[in-house]
Symmetry: C2
Subunit: 612 residues, 2 copies
């Protein structure tokens, strides 16, 4: 049997097809998302294509469903065209490449609809009788294809005359809506990539993505090099205030890191950075401002006003990001000074704006960002947890890195796990939670967070561990590890106080949101823990301590890096990006410091729940 080549415009995809095959079946076999409303019975006339080269005879149904003009113009119905030679067809109904895709986190589906699209066009050559300007030719071709008038971005215009003539008047236009942002000689429409960035205060993660399919091509990460100017947000803001070039330095640092990560990501995936046309960015409000080179000074001063909450769209050339020059950066919107684009991305990934159920989302870091609500109403706040959960200001505390005790179980005997499996060097936040929860359940500390005198312990659980209660600097402490030749690792009374401050901040944030929204724990159908720490902690410990309302323990789900997932959604879909803006505008930000009862709520939130 004879095989023929069938080529699909505007994408340029080419496949083999057997003699006599119906074009509809070729389209379906290739997996192109093309609509056949009547199921391909030749009755609705919707599956229009244009035969650019090669053809067969017009079927009877076509003569009645297509106007004479359409017939002369090569318009056919895909369900009636037989392949009996090489064929080039233009898919007319497929205005935007949109597929159903599955994004990893939260099992969330989204329709791919990239911010920038490509259109391959074969432009009519100029003659003495037809001396339309270059741009007019391109415009006319594009308008013919899409029906809506287009305009040109200046840098694209600059290169147009040269690109147009490199490959005999065939070019690929890169469009954002009706604006041509770039022109490339020949057919480059097979490649359209983007990268989503989650800029954390400490870590930056990038997700290189195919913008046609939504497929993730590679994931890269690096330390945020701004840490050299300050470990946390406040230190970096201070840096911008104390150094004339401080803001520039911080912006250049993060942009440099992004540029390096783009290099890593394309190398890993074996693609070209020049094929990257879109970048989405999420981060907390300070990271957002520093990325854009906007002074973050106001974020550190009451009333903590950000420069902007709306989405910001910037040319890649404005930020000197070394990707395709036609490219654009899509920064997600903020909610407030301390509830940033990263939280918006989390809410987007979790679809809180379309949830019938009330959900509580907590992203714990130095600042705990908390959101509560459903499609009816959405509240968010930022709770100043301080660095205790990250191991700072804890006597034996450390980050969740190699050597950190990360989990503690009060079983028959005390069991600890160490990251990396080697000797314990300290405790990280999750182990701190586990330990204090265990001590509370064993009756070794009180609801007020005070170590009980070990000699007064009488309950069986307590008796098992009372030997580990030791004196340290004039107060009680709990010994976690004392390996021979190793370091004594303990949780001191002071550490418990630090934990109480941190958990009190989060718990009171949750309480204020419940007060504001008129919701109670019973109304909350699900608790979503986002971010690295949220993914690490033991929900049982968190509930024992009242970090999360104890009655919600069996409704806790870890959703991982939901901010990254949200950034990817906003990258591959214009609709999701716009939805993020609508979502951010819908969230009622609650300023905890402005709440008259906050001090009272905070004081009572520092207590641990009764264990009886």
């Amino acid at each position: 049997m004879n095989n023929h080549k069938v080529r699909f415009l505007p994408e340029g995809k080419q496949v083999d097809a057997a003699e006599g095959m119906i074009l509809k079946d070729v389209i379906n076999e290739v997996g192109i998302n093309f609509d056949f409303p009547c199921g391909g019975r030749g009755t609705c006339g919707k599956c229009r294509i244009r035969v650019v080269s090669g053809s067969d005879t017009l079927q009877e149904q076509e003569t009645s469903l297509l106007t004479p003009d359409e017939q002369t113009d090569g318009i056919r119905l895909a369900c009636l065209v037989e392949v009996n030679g090489n064929l080039t067809v233009e898919l007319l109904a497929e205005k935007n490449v949109e597929h159903q895709i599955l994004l990893s986190s939260l099992g969330r589906k989204a329709r791919v609809k990239p911010h920038l699209i490509k259109r391959y066009i074969e432009v009519e050559k100029p003659t003495m009788a037809d001396n339309r300007p270059d741009w007019q030719r391109v415009k006319d071709s594009l308008t013919k294809q899409d029906g809506q008038p287009v305009e040109v971005h200046y840098p694209a215009l600059r290169t147009l005359p040269v690109e147009l003539r490199k490959q005999d008047y065939t070019i690929t236009a890169v469009l954002e809506q009706n604006r041509v942002r770039g022109v490339e000689a020949g057919n480059t429409s097979d490649s359209l990539l983007g990268i989503a960035f989650d800029i954390g205060t400490t870590t930056i993660v990038g997700y290189l993505t195919d913008l046609y399919t939504g497929r993730e091509l590679s994931v890269v990460s690096a330390l945020n090099p701004q840490t050299r100017y300050g470990a946390d947000v406040i230190a970096r803001i201070t840096h911008t205030l104390q150094h004339d070039q401080g803001l520039d330095q911080l912006q250049r640092a993060v942009l440099g890191a992004l540029d390096d990560l783009i290099g890593d990501a394309v190398a890993k995936a074996g693609v070209d950075r020049n094929d990257v046309y879109a970048i989405s960015v999420v981060g907390n409000t300070c990271m957002h401002h520093l990325f854009l080179g906007i002074s973050p000074r106001q974020l550190a001063l009451s009333p903590y006003v950000p420069a902007i909450s709306e989405p910001v769209v910037v040319d890649v050339t404005d930020l000197q990001l070394n990707v395709n020059k036609a490219g654009k950066v899509f920064v997600l919107p903020n909610i407030a000074g301390f509830v940033g684009a990263d939280m918006v991305a989390v809410l987007l990934a979790a679809e809180l704006d379309r949830s019938e159920d009330v959900k509580l989302i907590i992203d714990i870091g130095t600042n705990g960002e908390i959101a509560l609500g459903s499609q009816e109403q959405l509240f968010a706040c930022s709770a100043a947890a301080g660095p205790a959960f990250e191991g700072a200001q804890i006597s034996c505390g450390m980050r969740g890195a190699t050597g950190a005790i990360d989990h503690v179980t009060f079983g028959e005997q005390l069991e600890t796990t160490v990251i990396g499996g080697g000797r314990a060097l300290g405790v990280c936040g999750s182990a701190l939670l586990d330990t204090v929860a265990g001590l509370l359940e064993a009756g070794l500390i009180s609801e007020k967070g005070k170590f009980n005198d070990p000699d007064a312990v009488t309950n069986s659980a307590g008796l098992k561990y009372k030997e580990r209660i030791i004196r340290h600097e004039g107060a009680w402490a709990f010994l976690l590890s004392d390996e021979p030749g190793g370091k004594k690792i303990m949780i001191t009374q002071k550490d418990v106080r630090e934990l109480q401050l941190a958990k009190g901040a989060i718990a009171s944030g949750i309480q204020v949101l419940m007060n504001e929204s008129g919701l109670e724990p019973a109304d909350i159908k699900e608790v979503l823990l986002a971010g690295a720490f949220g993914n690490y902690l033991n929900p049982h410990s968190a509930c024992v301590l009242g970090l999360i309302p104890p009655e919600l323990e069996d409704r806790v789900t870890m959703i991982g890096n939901a901010a990254g997932a949200g950034a990817k959604l906003a990258l591959v879909s214009v609709d999701e990006y716009q939805r993020a803006a609508a979502l951010a505008g819908k969230v009622k930000f609650v300023e905890l410091g402005a709440n008259r009862n906050f001090n009272h709520i905070f004081a009572s939130s520092m207590l641990f729940p009764s264990q009886t």
Copy 2:
């Protein structure tokens, strides 16, 4: 009598007003263009202003014409407010500052309506209870004033938090339509300047203009530094083809010249270059392309296709022009490869698109650009006149500079005038025309352009000058000047041939346009001569030679640098800029080379009209 200060927002203009004066009279005395539809009788309620500080009691008519909300908001009617203290008022009806102004050339009036406007706003300060982002505050203030939503340009956003706090939350927003392009601390609304550039192949002229009043503040000019890379358009295009950096060099040269001219213009006017927010640019299509850094290669190759004909708008930062960073460049549209934005500007200044009478416009340079028509239909072409009119390829030819014989009169005796009044060094184009016309009228040369044998001359006019007919290199020549110690200055047979080629090109262009439009000389009500040469030549000579149809001699008007006038119109008025685009789109470009009869028409156009 007491004098009070009255200050008008958003412009910030301040004047003295006597106690008891009605605000309407103050407004009229100052010359602010503000509408009082009912003549100030307090009946229409249209002359709304907002009293920002200072006030008097509400009049009875106001209580019925203004809503309670408006009254609380300080809204008053200007025709009813009495000045009895210092007063700051905001003019609400005056959305855009629009005045009737008179532009020099062609006595043409236009309504000033700048591309960028300024709005002074006093922004509400953030509090814990009102922690809207900075941009939201500005947006809300502007929307309140103008009623339409605004968006922000990224560079303006970057500076917003700092600018907003420099002068206690008072700023001036620079807007282009609904887009905030810049923010400036405090009230800077009193200053809004622009500069219009006419970029000629040889000379660049700039007109610094007040965008509130349309008043010209200074005029500057300089040699186009691109001349160092080639004297004419073709030489410059060749330069871009022969040197990798050629296009960049040419663009940098013209941009550098513009930047220097802006410096000269603001120094001359005693203003600051940072107050320049708009730049309009006209030039031939090649100058247009080189200014924008677009390869002009196609302009030199048939079918002479420009990159674009539409208007191009560019940020000043894209061209590194050192004016206010919020500024924009408005390039006028082209018509075709050899009929550029300069001709569009001429047509705009001459209002050919709204003329009931048919007019013929000729701008003579190396290429003669010719337009013919009225509001009904408009035709244009470019005639390759060559450099003869600029003195090149003429034996004693020179530019119209000091030492050039510029006019020749065949009276009782031959009279010549020399530019600068000193000794004659050569002849420029206008004198060439005068001389050949005089020779033709005196019967010393034939209709075919051949010198008659002086010995065969019998008519009285001819006899007067036959002594000046001399032999030169084996042919006849006419001696114009032979001062002792000076140079012999003559017009040779070959010079006459060169002139015939040049005038034949223009005349045949006019003829083809008449053929295309179906118009005859009798239909043409006015001939407008634009450009430097058009302003210099003697229309009688031009008509004697048939450069212009002889029957139109009494309908010739010189309109000077109409391209510059058009550039100024497009600078001070958005409407005029848009009109230029519509106009350019309306002109039917006629490619002379594509006309089948062109060779025939050209050959007969080289002949001189019969003098009998």
